[in-house]
Structure formats: C-alpha cells, structure tokens
C-alpha cells in the first residue's frame, strides 16, 4: 500500500479555505489539473455519497465519491470509484486546522492506495506533486486572484486597473464651504498595498484642524478624513495576510478616508473582528486607540487615581470615561450642557461638571478635597489653559492631546515647577507609526469592545455627501459620542 502525505500553510483564515474545499465540485474552478467536473444525478456537492465525475487536462477520466464530510473538523474524505489511471483502493482525506498564531490555516492532505508493481513511485509522485502540491499553490492563487476577478467582474471594474470612486475634497484651507464631493480615480494596489471599498468613515476633531489649515497634513485640493472601514477589493502581489472580501479598518496619518474607494499600504489596515459592524469599527478605531494610548502609554492610569476628562461626552471623552472607570480610576469630566453631563455619567464619569465657559477648576478642587487631579486628559487647549492648570494636583500630569479651543501656548517653566508638573503633548500617529504597536493598540481596542467596556454610541450618521454638515455639527459642539459618515 502506498501512502502519500502533503501539508501546507495557507495565508488565509480557515473559514475562507474551508468554504472552497468543502464544495466537492469546486476543484475545476481552482485546481489547474482539473478540466471539467460535475456531480452525478444533480445531487448537492455536500451530499454524502455523491459522485464527482471529472476529466483531468491530460485526458484522464475519474469518478470519486464523497464518503465523509465534517464542518466541525474541517475534514472531507473521498475515494476513487473508477479511473483511467491505475490508482486502486484510493482513499484520500483533506483536513484543515486553524493556525491561531496569525489566523492562518494548516492543510493536511493524505491518501492511501495500491499501484501496479513498478509504478508505485511514479503514481505516488503524480498524486503528491501533481495533485496535492499543485493544489496548494493553486488554491493560494485562487483565494487571491480568483476572488478578485470574481469581485471585479461583479462591480464592473477593469481588472487590475483604476476604479472610479467619490471623495470629500478640501479645495482650500478654510471653512466647510471649501468642501466638495467629487469623483476620484483610485489606482490598483501596488505590491504592498490594498484597495478598499469603504462603507463608513469616522469623523474626528483632527479633520477640523486640517480643514482650517492648523495641521498641514495635506495640500489642497485633497481628500479629508483619517479613518474608515470597509471591505478589501483587491491586494498587491506582496500582501499575504489579506484577501478580497476581508473586513478591515484603519486610522492613518495620511488624510483621504472620506471616500468610497481607497488604495493604501496594507500594513496600515487592521482586520475587523467577527461580530463587529463595519460602522462600529469606523466609529471606534481612531478614538479608541486615542483612549488606549492616553490611558496605557502616555499616562499609565492606575486604580485609585483621579483623572479629569475634558469634553467627557464627546467621542474620545466617552471612551476615556468608560475605559478609565474600568481601570479603577475616579473620573471627573467637563461638559458643555446638562444633557452632556447625563451622557458622561452614563459612560462612567463619577463627577460631571457643566462648564460651557470652561470655568471648572473650583468644582474640580471641591470634588477632590482641594487636592486636584492626578492627570488631566486635555483636548480643549488654550481657552481652558488656566483652569486646567489649577485643576492638577502636585506631581500631576497634564496630557494635552488636542486643542479644540486653540493651540495651548508653551507652559511657563516656573508654573510647571510650582507643582512639579509633568506635561505631555503626545501625537497618536507617532505611536501608531510602529506597525507592531499599531496592531497591539487595535487589538486592545477591539478587546475592550468585546468586553463591553467600550460602548460605541453612533448617534450621528451622515451620508458622505453631507460631510460639511457633519463637521459643522462637531465644531459647533452639537454632537454627542461618535459621528460617522456612511457611503
């Protein structure tokens, strides 16, 4: 008896590989050795006992019967009924196992058979190399290119060429009147790039800084937007961890996210876990990673500390309240209205302070027995400068990560030494520039979402064509929680 075993690692999740292999009649679509195939008597290809009747490209004719199929074990067993090649008592099993380290697939393909004397080696090689090894390479290609071809033909796009999308273009630095909705040409992905069909994009305060020209991160005319989520259309030849149809999200320091289609470096995108909606991913990634790096990297918040969160009912603010509370901190928050105070409280803020005019230091002092807070997460900046300073305890930490009311001037060194104050002015994208760290941060965000520590509240949903209204609402402090643009 001959035994042939071949195995390989496929850079795709087990569900994607099994989807193809469990179909007993799929081999003429992905295996180059198979010319044509059909299931006899019109039976379903997952009917135990069904027979596939096929020709190889070299003219051989084979009938094989499915004798076992398990979706639990990702296993399929079949035998040859008759064939024009001398493989006797041939029984083969395909089994997949997940590689949890990297979300890939281990594929094991094994058979036993008898062969005419003298032809054992030749037939074993034909099965092992010509069928199994060729099959590994072919399925890899099929998953990458075949799916891409299928998708491209569905969407009517020229394969490998440019596609036409729409984007929110900033014509010149200034107000929302400088925004227009225009057609754009989106190139096919380069070697290490990925092209996405974007279903949702998150709006962040940074979009306003960029639109005003305070952050020179683009040169008009160019598309706005830092984060989006959607599905992969196609990938470059050197991209092995993504496939067409995969759901992904990104927050990248290169604007252009407010668009229906986009091509960008594959290392910038992170997979969206099963069970997380695309719109939720767009609402959570940028703001969630902001909360993650503020609470875990810029200032390691410990249980028992008191933290002050400005704009505590905002996108980042609600996350800081939820996550800070989960870490055991006492959370004080500033908000602009009673309604926002209620929202902040619902999200874990112990002491919401209503201060539309940014007068909150006395209330913070009162809430901390005159001591002040250990750390302030300050997204307000200039107009709250004095009050933020007064709110911080000795040895405290001033984390200035945004400036909704204007740039914070550099702090007087004497003021700083008056309370041994530590000052940080972190930039998220400096932290996410390292892709290993980016992935760790995104993983933490999605884990907090899974544990329901982070609760995403998309109350404001605008069509992409109304990006100007959305930015207007955020800038005029009318929004609560996350704001999302949908394509």
């Amino acid at each position: 008896m001959q035994r042939v075993t071949r195995s390989a690692i496929i850079d795709a999740p087990i569900e994607r590989v099994w989807e193809v292999l469990r179909d007993f009649n799929s081999h003429d679509r992905w295996h180059p050795a198979v010319a044509d195939s059909h299931i006899e008597n019109g039976e379903a290809p997952d009917q135990i006992g069904c027979v596939r009747n096929f020709h190889l490209r070299d003219g051989a004719h084979i009938r094989e019967q499915l004798i076992a199929l398990s979706d639990t074990d990702h296993m399929s067993t079949y035998c040859i009924l008759d064939a024009t090649v001398p493989l006797q008592r041939y029984v083969a099993t395909v089994q997949l196992k997940p590689v949890t380290d990297g979300n890939r697939t281990f594929w094991h393909w094994q058979s036993t058979f008898d062969a005419p004397p003298g032809r054992e080696a030749e037939l074993a090689d034909m099965v092992g190399s010509g069928v199994y090894e060729a099959g590994f390479d072919a399925l890899r290609r099929y998953l990458r290119e075949g799916t891409r071809r299928a998708q491209a033909s569905v969407s009517g796009a020229p394969r490998g060429g440019e596609m036409t999308g729409q984007a929110v273009i900033l014509k010149a630095f200034g107000g929302v009147e400088q925004l227009s909705f225009e057609n754009i040409q989106v190139p096919a992905p380069g070697l290490r790039e990925v092209r996405l069909r974007q279903a949702a994009a998150g709006i962040n305060y940074i979009d306003i800084y960029i639109r005003r020209g305070e952050y020179r991160m683009l040169t008009p005319p160019a598309a706005l937007g830092m984060e989006a989520a959607g599905t992969v259309v196609d990938v470059g030849a050197d991209v092995h961890n993504l496939l067409p149809g995969d759901r992904v999200a990104y927050a990248w320091d290169n604007p252009g996210a407010f668009a229906t289609l986009r091509t960008l470096p594959a290392e910038q995108v992170v997979p969206i876990p099963t069970g997380v909606e695309i719109e939720t991913a767009a609402a959570v990634l940028f703001k969630g990673m902001t909360a993650e790096y503020l609470l875990h990297r810029v200032h390691m918040v410990r249980a028992g500390e008191t933290i002050l969160v400005h704009a505590a009912a905002g996108g980042v603010g609600t996350f800081l309240c939820q996550w800070g509370k989960y870490l055991g901190a006492r959370v004080i928050g500033t908000v602009g209205s009673e309604e926002k105070a209620r929202i902040a409280r619902e999200n874990g803020c112990d002491v919401p302070i209503v201060s539309p005019d940014y007068q909150f230091a006395d209330a913070v002092k009162a809430a901390t027995g005159g001591r002040g807070v250990d750390v302030v997460f300050d997204g307000l900046g200039r107009m709250a400068e004095r009050e933020s300073y007064e709110s911080i305890a000795r040895l405290g930490h001033w984390v200035s990560y945004g400036h909704a009311t204007g740039m914070l001037p550099s702090l007087d060194a004497n003021l700083q030494s008056e309370k041994s104050l530590r000052v940080s002015r972190p930039v998220l994208f400096h932290y996410t520039a390292d892709t290993v760290r980016l992935r760790a941060m995104a993983t933490n965000v999605f884990a907090m979402l899974d544990r329901e520590v982070l609760k995403v509240n998309v109350r404001h949903r605008y069509p992409l064509t109304s990006a100007a209204s959305a930015l207007d609402a955020l800038e005029s402090r009318q929004t609560i929680g996350s704001v999302v643009l949908v394509a």
């Binding site: 075993t5 071949r6 195995s7 390989a8 690692i9 196992k97 997940p98 590689v99 949890t100 380290d101 990297g102 890939r104 281990f106 094991h108 090894e133 590994f136």
Partner: protein, 146 residues
C-alpha cells in the same frame, strides 16, 4: 469543561522541534515561564506515568504526570496533579505535524479542564497565551521564523 487550543508554525523540521521539546523534564530548557524541573522518584523522563515537578519563574510549583508519549506521532499528553492555577481534570496535549511544503512544523497545544464559574475566561487566556503561545514564541525565536 473549558477547551483551549493554540497552534503555530515553527520554521524547522518536526524532527528538530521534537528533539528540542520531547524531554518531559526539559521545560526550563525551552519554555520562558519555567525556572527548574525534576522528575519525581528518579524515573526516566520518557516513562509513561512519570511526574515532573517544576517551578514557575513567578514562584508557583506544578506537578504534572505524563500520560502518553509518541515519537511516531510527535505527541505527548499530560495531566496536572497539583498547581496554584485553580484547575481540575486538566489534560493537555502537545503535538507536532510536519508541514511538507517548506519543511516546517505545525505545532498544536491544547487543554481541557474544569474551573470555578467566572474564572473561565481569565484561565483560558493565561493558559492559551501565557503558557502555550509563550512556548511557541520561544520555539519560533529559537529556530528563527519566517
């Protein structure tokens, strides 16, 4: 019953990886969490039924009994007799399978156990990531990986 399953790919032949991890008394040689280990009663470490008694780097002591060992299947099974982890009926299997494409090794480490309600998630994570994946990470860096 909780089940934990962790798998990885090591860039070396199954023979080479098995030679590195086969010794039931050899954890300190390759697993970063284990400080020292001995086999009780002077038994040979490949005699089924032998008990390894080892210290974790963070101080805890664990006693585990070898239930099966197969050089043919590159596989061993063991149970926990005593540990500070709070698990009952703990049985684990470590198995290697050759990946013929590229002469690499598919490594699987799985466990089944019972625990008190509320501890499942924490234990599944600390065993799956802290023990199994940490071991695989050590093997991958020992053999180099692609």
């Amino acid at each position: 019953m909780i089940k934990v399953y962790t798998s990885s790919v090591v860039d070396a032949s199954a023979d080479a990886v098995w030679a590195h991890i086969r010794d039931f008394n050899g954890l300190p040689k390759w697993h970063p969490a284990i400080a020292e280990s001995r086999i009780e009663g002077n038994w040979p470490s490949d005699r089924v039924g032998c008990i390894r008694n080892f210290q974790l780097r963070d101080g805890g002591t664990i006693r585990e009994q070898l239930l099966t060992l197969s050089d043919y299947d590159y596989q061993c099974t063991y149970s926990i007799l005593e540990s500070p982890m709070g698990v009952d009926n703990y049985i684990a299997t470590l198995k290697l399978t050759p990946v013929t494409d590229g002469n690499r090794t598919f490594a699987e480490w799985s466990a089944e156990f019972d625990t008190l309600p509320g501890q499942e998630r924490r234990l599944a994570e600390s065993i799956g990531q802290g023990v199994f994946q940490a071991g695989f990470d050590a093997l991958k860096s020992y053999f180099g990986h692609r």
